[in-house]
């Protein structure tokens, strides 16, 4: 059992948890992920590490309440326990040698982008951050990004905060103005990462994307997280859990990944409704 040592609500649907897992805290690097189960009957769900505190032996995750499991997890309070917590899994984001980087985060993906921005800042790189949200209420981690970014652009779909529009707008402008990034690192919804990659393509800037497919074991056993890369005209199958979660954005077949992400859509909607009804009954 793993104790929740702290809990914060970053906005009405996004929660930050610190969980006591010293072995994981000792090893986890930005870009890696963990898998947890809320209780003995629970499903295994991956979450990217949003930070660690080695002294306290805690690992931070930030998640959006979107389905039955995240709903159930959001009912846990500080001091409560979750059944399982394993990691760190996957390969850490490669940031060695980068001097000038653009971080593009979308929604709760910003929670994963932030520790990478921070790590880059701490090693002396110049960081430009572009973070996008649906509206003002959903904005998270503004202060944290501000601290480690030379330039920070905040975008909202409805213009209720920052600039109105999506993250590719300032990115395109910067690239057109001749900004030379060593790399663009983007984390967020698949559709956003796809368009960030398309925006960058004419300028030839390397793009790293963070994939978050459905997975079970997270150690390379089940193969559920497979995705297709197009490498020199050849289709290559990769496993996000052991080969990723970071991939070269130009190689990823995003349309296939989006389609695979919808595989259990109906089941999930049903499970979410069930869980909501269950919690209502309990209230």
């Amino acid at each position: 059992m793993y104790r929740i040592s702290d809990k914060k609500e970053l906005n009405p649907s996004v929660v930050e948890l610190d969980i006591e897992a010293p072995l994981v805290a000792n090893k986890a690097k930005p870009g890696q992920f963990i898998i947890l189960r809320v209780d003995e009957e629970g499903e295994r769900v991956p979450f990217t590490v949003a930070g660690v505190n080695k002294e306290n032996g805690t690992v931070k995750i930030i998640y959006q309440i979107v389905g039955a499991t995240t709903k159930k997890l959001s009912m846990k309070e500080k001091g409560d326990y979750i059944a399982d917590f394993v990691g760190p899994l996957g390969v850490a984001t490669k940031i060695d040698g980068l001097k000038k980087v653009c971080i593009v985060g979308g929604g709760v993906g910003c929670a994963i982008a932030m520790p990478i921005a921070k790590a880059l800042f701490e090693m002396g790189a110049e960081v430009t951050s572009i973070i996008g949200f649906r509206n003002k209420d959903l904005v998270i981690l503004e202060e944290e990004f501000d601290k480690c970014s030379k330039n920070l652009f905040i975008m909202t779909d409805d213009g209720t905060y920052g600039e109105k529009g999506n993250v590719t707008m300032p990115l395109k402008k910067l690239l057109e103005e001749g900004e030379k990034f060593d790399e663009i690192i983007t984390i967020g919804p698949l559709i956003m990462m796809k368009f960030v990659t398309q925006t960058a393509r004419p300028f030839g800037v390397p793009v790293t994307v963070s994939m978050n497919p459905i997975m079970i074991d997270g150690t390379g056993m089940c193969g559920g997280c497979r995705l297709t890369l197009n490498i020199d005209g050849k289709k290559v199958t990769k496993f996000a859990c052991v080969d990723g979660p970071d991939f070269d954005g130009y190689q990823v077949d995003f349309d296939e990944a989006m389609s695979r992400g919808r595989m259990y859509g109906e089941f999930e909607r049903h499970a979410y409704e069930e869980s909501c009804n269950l919690f209502k009954k309990g209230e």
């Binding site: 499903e43 079970i216 089940c222 259990y264 499970a271």
Partner: protein, 470 residues
Amino acid sequence: MAEINMDLKRNIMPTQSPEERAKNFSEVALGYSEEVAISEANRCLNCKTMPCVSGCPVKIRIPEFISEIKEGNFEKAYQIISESSSLPAVCGRVCPQENQCEAKCVRGIKGESVGIGRLERFVADYHNTFSENEPKKTQSNGKKVAIIGSGPSGLTCAGDLAKKGYQVTVFEALHTAGGVLIYGIPEFRLPKKIVAKEVETLKKLGVKIETNVVIGKTLTVDELFDMGYKAVFVGSGAGLPNFMGIPGETLNGVYSANEFLTRSNLMKAYKENPQTPIMKGGKIAVVGGGNVAMDAARTALRLGAEKVYIIYRRSMEELPARHEEVEHAMEEGIDFKLLCNPVEILGYNNPDDIRDSRNNFVKGIKCVKMELGEPDERGRRRPVEIPHSEFEIAVDTVIMSIGTSPNPLIKSTTNGLEVNSRGGIIVNEDGLTSKEGVYAGGDAVTGAATVISAMGSGKTAAKAIDEYLR
């Protein structure tokens, strides 16, 4: 002493009827009663040369335990088995005895061999039901050994070392101990409570089990030595599922057998209102002919499939699965499409509506017919495509069960650990790897093989580790 039972046929194993069992996840074989077990034991001639023992990878003293059954001393029989095997109730169910101990049985020359596996299962179940004997903890010798993976090789190695007084810790990546016995082999062939019971027995021997630790990630092999472990056994299993490399393998509704079985077994997707989803019902094609393919096909059937096909590129004779499993699968109505090979998985695609929820879901599988040609290097006749023989089968789900490749996690994080061209860890006859103090066994070495061969390698390594640390 009772008279030798000279019946040429062995006592029949009672099973659930095929119609009944195809709809539930309860165990197929029901086990011998005491009377039947004694009758079967009396078929054993107690040969002095003990050919059966030579066929057993863990060298169980078979005639001795069978002699105890003849006398009704079932618990004594169990003690004899448990001296050689850490998992008797498991082996009695999943070992391919017909190719091992039973293949060497003298009674098999004229008639059927003694049902050694069935007797082993009877004895283990008797013990698990009636025995109040707690396993005896050996006085600790203070030396720590780490075992990576709690599958059959790891548990065997752990049990043998604990009995010799070592302080054994087993590190398991998943949330439940048992490895393939839990996530791979389905409930109807190996009830999970039996695995849990065997794991409990090991804990009583003093074995510590740490779940949720991925060696190669959470800790490395080198760090285990820093933590004071004097030897390490790697039994991390086979790992990455293979795919055929044909179009359509990433469509929704295509699973590896590992994923399909893990969802059903480990994540309990077979239960009502599961929290982990699985695609079930409809028509299902399983590609492959091994035991795992049979497990996947029979699981799919029990999950409510209206039709299940096994697609295998060779003929019935070459099917690598255990004979009993194939027979059970056929009785249950699994349709064997032999001498067939998939060339493409077909997906639904509505060009008029990109939002059609059926888009990118499997709708069929295209195969070619095969014929057997010249034998390959292993002596199996090579399947050759018959030109222009394509045909399609309408299915909703495809399960790829064509083997696995070793997991790279441990190799890539352990200095000085050598692997072969297929990624399997290289070991000598004692299970010793290229790195001092590190031993390995099971599928991590051989690639996908059997539970008992993994147990045999765990046993060999335990003996070598004891000699190394003594």
